[in-house]
């Protein structure tokens, strides 16, 4: 794959991965996770479909269980996996709360990020309190404070309308898979301030499966 150099994380990295079911969002998310893990980061992933165990994640069925297990490993200085998958019913909200809470303890009150974290939301629609025109307070806090929390964000979604425009304005990277509807391509062009037609190649007729375009703030399509 030739795009790996473009996947180097940044201090306030906030990525979205947009594509229909089965296009390869989870595979890309796993690849992003591995890159961060190899760089020593912690990765928390919402994994209601239990896809990430096979790529090395350790599954927990509740926030409490995850915090307890990690906390005990810290107290006893035992090895603990930095790849944490939460398979809970609340999914996205749970993993977001966990990542923010850990970011607050490890990074927020210090001058530098001591333990860089990455949060991967595998299905953004599973947030309870968010949509095309609203995000709840916990999400807003995570997005606004992500630099201080040492928290990188990766949101996977099927439709560009699953996040409000105000959130698209602070996105640093977008990984765009083929779109099944032309209006979604237009929506993406608007969200990314691209000229009309710039993402025409995202139509399913023009784009082979498991391929994506990478857009970066300030640099455009790479």
């Amino acid at each position: 794959m030739d795009g790996s150099s473009a996947l180097i994380p940044k201090a306030n990295y906030f990525a979205v991965v947009v594509g229909p079911p089965g296009c390869g969002k989870s595979s890309l998310a796993a690849q992003l996770a591995h890159e961060r893990l190899r760089a020593g980061r912690w990765v928390f992933v919402q994994d209601q479909n239990r896809e990430f165990r096979q790529v090395g994640a350790v599954e927990y069925t509740s926030v409490h269980e995850a915090e307890l297990a990690i906390g005990q490993a810290f107290a006893q200085q035992r090895p603990v996996s930095r790849f944490v998958a939460l398979c809970t019913a609340r999914g996205a909200d749970d993993v977001l709360e966990l990542a923010v809470r850990i970011g607050e303890q490890w990074n927020q009150r210090f001058q530098a990020v001591r333990a860089p974290l990455c949060l991967i939301v595998n299905e953004t629609s599973s947030f309870e309190g968010s949509g095309s025109s609203y995000i709840d307070k916990t999400q807003e806090r995570a997005i606004n404070l992500r630099r201080h929390l040492g928290l990188e964000l990766v949101y996977c979604m099927q439709r560009p309308t699953q996040l409000p425009k105000s959130v698209w304005d602070v996105i640093t990277d977008a990984y765009l898979f083929a779109q099944v509807r032309p209006d979604r391509i237009v929506e993406l062009e608007g969200n990314l301030n691209l000229p009309r037609g710039a993402l025409a190649s995202l139509s399913t007729a023009a784009m082979p499966p498991h391929r994506y375009l990478h857009w970066q703030a300030g640099r455009g399509l790479l």
Partner: protein, 265 residues
């Protein structure tokens, strides 16, 4: 580098050797983890990501044209990313700590109020057994008869069923189902007791005699104790008024515990 485990005076047991081997491995992992973090920290800081506003004022030659069609990247197959579950396990750095998980959030005032109402009702219900119901509630026989109970035993069942069903309805109104976020032992006990009686009564058909319960497709009817035939008066809305305040209470999910249900002192 970590030193290999050395037998002390040649007397180290296999268990001790294994322990030492694990310690060395953990130290090695921790060292590697710190090294990675140091490398990451030592790297020149990445330039601040350019926001779109800044991009507009940036030098034009610094960025490729935004209308570039871009390059197609390919995702790896998930299978190609398979690794062992503990592949990314490290000994945590000593300077990091993780506090205990926070206590569960306090219930909202509305939830608390609802819980208290249910707790009050449950407090009565958990004392309510089929054996002592008639002693505590003189109206049981009459109430049971109104619900179609043929004898006192059936009256007890019908009354207790109705009372427990009220708790269930309170739960449903508050959206709690059978999962109680407010961990009150009394509430839980009451709910479980209610569920048990409710389920039993539903299965045995006793619940069908309670107007408003049972199969919604088959409206509840009181039956004549003598003939077992449906009592036609039950089809008359006016007849329901004979339930009086009990009927009103029964329909009000947030009702206080009716006075007649107060436990005997």
């Amino acid at each position: 580098m970590a030193t290999a485990a050395q037998p002390v005076n040649g007397t180290a047991s296999p268990a001790e050797l294994e322990l030492e081997r694990r310690r060395n491995r953990d130290r090695e992992r921790q060292r590697a983890y710190r090294a990675r973090l140091r490398t990451d920290d030592a790297a020149p800081p990445a330039p601040l990501p350019v926001t779109r506003d800044r991009a507009a004022s940036a030098q034009p030659e610094a960025a490729p044209p935004v209308h570039s069609r871009g390059t197609l990247h390919e995702t790896p197959r998930l299978e190609s990313l398979r690794v062992e579950p503990e592949a990314f396990a490290d000994v945590p750095p000593a300077e990091l700590e993780l506090g205990p998980p926070p206590p569960p959030p306090e219930p909202s005032p509305a939830a608390l109020a609802g819980a208290q109402k249910i707790a009050g009702l449950a407090a009565v219900l958990v004392r309510l057994t089929l054996d002592d119901v008639s002693a505590r509630f003189p109206q049981v026989r009459e109430l049971g008869a109104q619900m179609g109970a043929a004898d006192l035993d059936q009256a007890k069942i019908a009354t207790v069923t109705w009372a427990h069903a009220t708790v269930l309805r309170c739960c449903a109104k508050h959206g709690w189902g059978f999962a109680i976020p407010y961990e009150d032992e009394l509430v839980t006990l009451g709910i479980f007791a209610g569920c048990g009686v409710y389920q039993w009564a539903r299965l045995t058909g006793a619940l069908d005699r309670v107007p408003g319960h049972g199969d919604p497709a088959a409206p509840a009817r009181r039956t004549s104790p003598a003939s077992g035939a449906p009592d036609p008066v039950n089809d008359d809305d006016e007849a329901d008024s004979e339930w009086g305040n009990i009927r009103l209470e029964r329909n009000d999910a947030t009702a206080k515990v009716p006075a007649w249900m107060a436990p005997a002192r």
